[in-house]
């Protein structure tokens, strides 16, 4: 595509906003959205594909509640990784399929020195601990803690607003 339009543009935002609570369980789930926005279904899909390829959409599909499929344990692993190794370790963790989130975060002097965070879900605490033990050994992460969740209090996605744009 050689169009100079910004991605996402207002129409892209409107599409993502319309679909943010999920597509409908209808034979043609984009029909209503297309009609409301005055586009064809193919145009909607072509824009979604473009957004997907551009990385504006991380992925398109189902999100699953891990606790409902037997992944009862969720461990947030906080690690102290030397600056010079941080990018390398972060990338390696990103390649591990059990890791769902991995971020470098700011530290707080004197209070909080863990700078790399990743998340592991598993059927039991033990299973999470085993994965973490393997990963930290392999990646030579020496200082870390697993902070297990006790209870989920809120897990909703952020709501895009109709007029929000970059």
């Amino acid at each position: 595509m050689n169009s100079p339009r910004p991605i996402p543009d207002n129409l892209d935002m409107a599409i993502m906003t319309s679909l943010q609570t999920g597509i409908e369980l209808k034979d043609e789930p984009y029909r209503d959205v297309a009609r409301n926005l005055g586009l064809s279904q193919e145009e909607i899909l072509s824009r979604i594909r473009t957004l997907d390829e551009a990385g504006v959409i991380r992925r398109f599909g189902a999100s699953i509640n891990p606790s409902k499929i037997g992944f009862q344990a969720n461990g947030m692993v906080v690690c102290k990784v030397p600056r010079e190794r941080l990018t390398e370790v972060g990338r390696q963790l990103a390649d591990v399929k059990e890791v769902t989130h991995c971020y470098e975060r700011e530290t707080v002097p004197e209070v909080w020195s863990y700078n790399l965070f990743f998340m592991i879900h598993g059927p039991t605490r033990r299973s999470v601990e085993e994965i973490v033990a393997t990963l930290t050994r392999k990646l030579a992460i020496e200082e870390y803690e697993i902070i297990f969740s006790v209870k989920e209090l809120k897990k909703t996605s952020l709501t895009l607003q109709e007029k929000s744009g970059p």
Partner: protein
């Protein structure tokens, strides 16, 4: 057994729709009455009058009523020709056959009691009932709908009977078609789960009107998705002849049995997947939905084909997985940084044990807060704030402190420096 949550279209004329509508309601379903046909007195009553006269003249041995309307119109014709009383009198000497219980009830109103009723409420049932008799030389009167196939007449003639067939009434399109149009639109809009066809004429009318309103293609598609129910084999055959399959045909051809059979059909479908349990097929579905969702106009068709199941099964399984809370959403997951939310932070808070619930509730009320967990740590309440910029995050933290009385030293603010991965998918195979 229940029809809870199901919308069942009843396509008979209003005066006949009542019984089926009530049967559906009594099972918890929602009847959608959309008469596709209207019953009118025949425009050419001559044959019916002849039939009445032949009966009065004692020339008729057996009279077979195929519907409530047949009874009503025949007695009406007798009334109009001034033969009401002689007809009622002479019919006492005639063997009366009613196709089913509703027809028998109608006869009862005219004091014709205890007619013969076949065990199968259909034309075939009548043939089976009457072939036990010696029909040679017998005259059978057959008042019935105007435009019908003549297979019953032919069968009775093969058994040696003389048949006086007469159009007692005509079935035509309703004079007001707005209800049909609305019905077809609602069908296309997926507001109807089941259509209960109660005669071949209802089947034909539906397709004829789909054509009339230029909805043929889309109506045909919907008919392959909804549950099609037929009251008996004749209606099933009419559907088959037009390329549709009735998934539900009760073993007894009454509206009550039809409603029950529809409920049983849905129950059987649900029982394939008892609540709460995730079966192999569900795992395969979840896997495809997470890792390989097709970006096409008809994604369920494409997915169903890939999984080797029919789209209806797929959609009902997915709906169940959503209801169970297994699937939270199916759709696009934007990279929030790319859609205007540049700032994201993780907050850890030290909350005294006794204030956890109170403070969690205050925190969760903020629309920019998500992923809030109670965790085992001295910082025990953790959540993320996603915002347009760091100022908005600071404002949120300030507001939170104000509302909870928490101090800076109770709060860890850990903004994202770089993202290595956000991909919350679970391998289920």
């Amino acid at each position: 057994m229940s029809l809870r949550g199901k919308v069942v279209a009843v396509v008979r004329p209003p005066d006949q729709a009542k019984d089926l509508a009530e049967a559906i309601e009594s099972l918890g379903g929602t009847p959608y009455v959309a008469p596709l046909i209207e019953v009118k007195p025949t425009k050419r009553p001559e044959a019916l009058i002849e039939l009445v006269k032949a009966t009065v003249a004692g020339k008729v041995d057996i009279i077979v009523f195929m519907s409530r309307n047949g009874v009503l119109q025949t007695f009406e014709a007798a009334e109009k020709t001034g033969l009401a009383d002689p007809f009622k009198e002479s019919i006492k000497g005639v063997t009366v056959v009613a196709v089913g219980p509703k027809t028998r009830q109608e006869l009862d109103k005219f004091n014709v009691t205890e007619p013969m009723v076949p065990s199968e409420y259909s034309s075939q049932g009548i043939v089976k009932l009457l072939e036990k008799e010696d029909l040679r030389g017998k005259t059978i009167a057959l008042p019935r709908a105007g435009v019908v196939d003549n297979s019953l007449r032919a069968a009775l003639q093969r058994l040696g009977a003389d048949v006086i067939e007469a159009a007692a009434y005509e079935i035509g399109p309703p004079s007001d078609k707005s209800l049909i149009k609305k019905f077809l639109e609602d069908l296309v809009a997926e507001k109807i789960d089941t259509i209960a066809f109660t005669s071949p004429s209802t089947v034909k009318s539906l397709l004829k009107h789909a054509e009339e309103f230029s909805l043929t293609k889309i109506v045909n598609e919907r008919l392959r998705r909804v549950v099609i129910a037929a009251i008996g084999p004749t209606t099933r055959k009419a559907l088959e002849d037009l390329g549709f399959k009735a998934q539900v045909v009760p073993s007894e051809y009454t509206v009550e049995a039809l409603a029950k059979e529809i409920a049983a059909h849905f129950q059987a479908r649900d029982e394939q997947s008892p609540s709460g349990e995730i079966y192999d097929l569900d795992r395969r579905i979840l896997q495809s939905l997470q890792f390989n969702f097709p970006l096409v106009v008809r994604p369920w068709d494409a997915l169903a084909e890939r999984l080797g199941i029919d789209p209806q099964t797929l959609i009902s399984r997915v709906r169940r997985l959503i209801d169970l809370g297994v699937i939270k959403k199916i759709g696009p997951f934007p990279d929030l940084k790319r859609v205007g939310f540049k700032a994201s932070t993780l907050i850890g808070v030290k909350v005294p044990h006794e204030r956890v619930e109170e403070i969690a509730e205050i925190v969760n009320r903020f629309s920019n807060v998500s992923h809030s967990y109670l965790r085992e740590h001295q910082y025990n309440l953790w959540f993320t704030i996603t915002a347009r910029d760091t100022q908005e995050i600071q404002n949120t933290i300030d507001l939170l402190k104000k509302k909870t009385g928490l101090q800076d030293e109770d709060i860890l603010n850990l903004p994202v420096v770089s993202t290595f991965k956000t991909d919350v998918r679970f391998n289920l195979l």
